[in-house]
Symmetry: C2
Subunit: 303 residues, 2 copies
Amino acid sequence: MLVEKIKNRESGIVLYGITPPKKETPEDKIAEIATRQIERLQHLNIDGLILYDIQDEKSRTSQARPFPFMETLDAFTYSRDYLSGLDVAKVIYRSVGKYTEAELSQFMMEASPENELSVFVGAASKSQDVTLSMKQAYALKTHIKDAPLLGGVTIPERHQTKGDEQLRVFNKMAQGCEFFVSQGVYDVNASKNFLSDYYHYGQEHNIPLAPILFTLTPCGSVKTLEFMKWLGISIPRWLENELIHTHDILQKSVDFSEQSWLELKDFADEKNIPIGCNIESVAIRKVEVDASIELLRRIQKTV
Amino acid sequence: MLVEKIKNRESGIVLYGITPPKKETPEDKIAEIATRQIERLQHLNIDGLILYDIQDEKSRTSQARPFPFMETLDAFTYSRDYLSGLDVAKVIYRSVGKYTEAELSQFMMEASPENELSVFVGAASKSQDVTLSMKQAYALKTHIKDAPLLGGVTIPERHQTKGDEQLRVFNKMAQGCEFFVSQGVYDVNASKNFLSDYYHYGQEHNIPLAPILFTLTPCGSVKTLEFMKWLGISIPRWLENELIHTHDILQKSVDFSEQSWLELKDFADEKNIPIGCNIESVAIRKVEVDASIELLRRIQKTV
C-alpha cells in the first residue's frame, strides 16, 4: 500500500507517471487509451500511478516552446472514469493556481484517502495568474477531514543556484507534505547535492526524512531533449553531447537513467535517506512508452 | 619515457607533483627533504615528477588566503641540484609572468629535451603585474632550438561557466603545447563536460587529441578544503558535506579521488581520449604525503 509505505518513510517506492489524454480526444479513443494503459501497467507491481496536471509554463521563459501546449482531461476525472480497473494507488496532481477554493476543497473531500493521493504544484513563475496560492491550498487542506495524503514537488536543480531546496522541502513538510516527487533527473550531481543538504538538515534538527521520489524520463529525440531543457531540466554538457551523438538516443537515455538511479541509491542507502522513483512516460510514441516500461522493470530489479 | 608517451598520445601517464622547499630553508634541511623525496619516489615507477612554480594568487580573489603565501626555491634549480639522483623525467613549471625574456630563454636552452619538460602557467588574473605574457612566452619557445617539450594548464571548472575550455586547449596546442595538466579535480562532472567538448571538437576538426592529465589532490583537513576552494577548485556540495562530516577526511578524499579517476577513465577510454593522472602532494604533514603515495599506488593499478 502506497500510503503505508510513505507513512513508514520506506525506501524503494516505485511510481509510474502519465499525462491524461488530450482534452479534445473522442470518448471511444479515450477508453482505448485507458485500456492499453491498464493492460500495460496492471501486472507491473508498481506502488502507484501519477496523473499529471499540465499547466502552460510559458510564463517561466521567453524562449519558444518546442512542443505546443495541449490541455488534457482532468486527472481526477480520467482516473475515476477510466482507470478504476487499475488496482493501484493514484497520485492526482493539482496545479493549484488553476482551481478555486471550492474546486480544490471538493477534490480533497471526494478523493479516497486510502488509495488516492495528491501533489500540489505551484505556479510556473511569479508572473503567472493564479486563483489560489500554494499557501492557501495547504491551509485549505487542514480544514478537510480525511483529505488525501499530500506530496510536494522538489527541484534539485534549483539547489545548484539557490542552495536552499532542502529548506523548501522542510517548509512543505511543515505544511503537510509527506513525500516528494522531483523534476526529471538528468543531473545526478544536483540531486546528490540536494539529498546531502536534506540529510544533514534533518540530522541537525532531528526531523525524520520524507521519501524523495526521483523522476526518470526516457528521452526519445533531440527535440524532446530541447523540450526538457525548455522545461528547466538541467542536462550536463557531456550527457547532452552523448545523447546528441548517439545513434539510439532513447536506449542511451534509458541506460543513463538507470545509472543515475543506481548512483542516487548508493548515495542514499549509505545514509538511510528514503528515496524512490517515478518513471515518467509523457511521450505518445509506442517506442518511447516501451522504453519507459523497460526502465521501470530495470529499476524494480534494484529496489 | 615520458616524452615518448606524450608524443605517442598515450593514455595512462602517471605523474607525481610536488612543490620545492621554501626559500629560507637551510641547505642541509633541503638536502634532507630531497633525500626523503627520492627515497619515496624512486621505486614507484612514475612517468615523471612535476615541480610547481608557485605564484601568489592574491590578485585572483579578495577573500583572505587561508594559508600564507611562501616563496619556494626555484623548481629548475632544486630539480638539478637536489633531485638529479631521481631517474625520472622532470616537468618544470614556469609561471611566465615572473620571468624576463632572457631568463625564460635561458631556462629553455639549458633544459634537457629528453627528460626535462615544462608547463607554462599564466597570470592568476588580468590585474596581476607580469613581465612576460603567455603569448610572448609561447612565441619565445619557437626561437629556441631543442626547447623542452611543452605542456599547458587546463581548468575544467572554468568550462562550467565559460563553456570554451576546449578552445583554450586547442589554442594552446596550436602554440606548441603537447599535453595538459588540469587543476585539482573534485568535480568530475565539470571534467567530463570539458572532456566531452574536447573530444567532439577534435573529431569535428580532425585534430588528434593531446593527453590530458587530471590532477588529484588528497585533502587532509577542513582548512585545506577551504584553501582548495580559495584556489578556485570547485567542490560539489555533497562531496564537501561528506568531507566535512567524516571522521577521516584524508582517507575519504583518497577514496573519492580514486573514484573520480575511475569515472573519468571509463568515460575517456570509451572514446579513446588519452588521459592520465597527476597525483599532487602539496602538503607537508607526513600523513598527507603518505596518503598521496597510497593514491598513486591505487591509480597505478588501474592504468
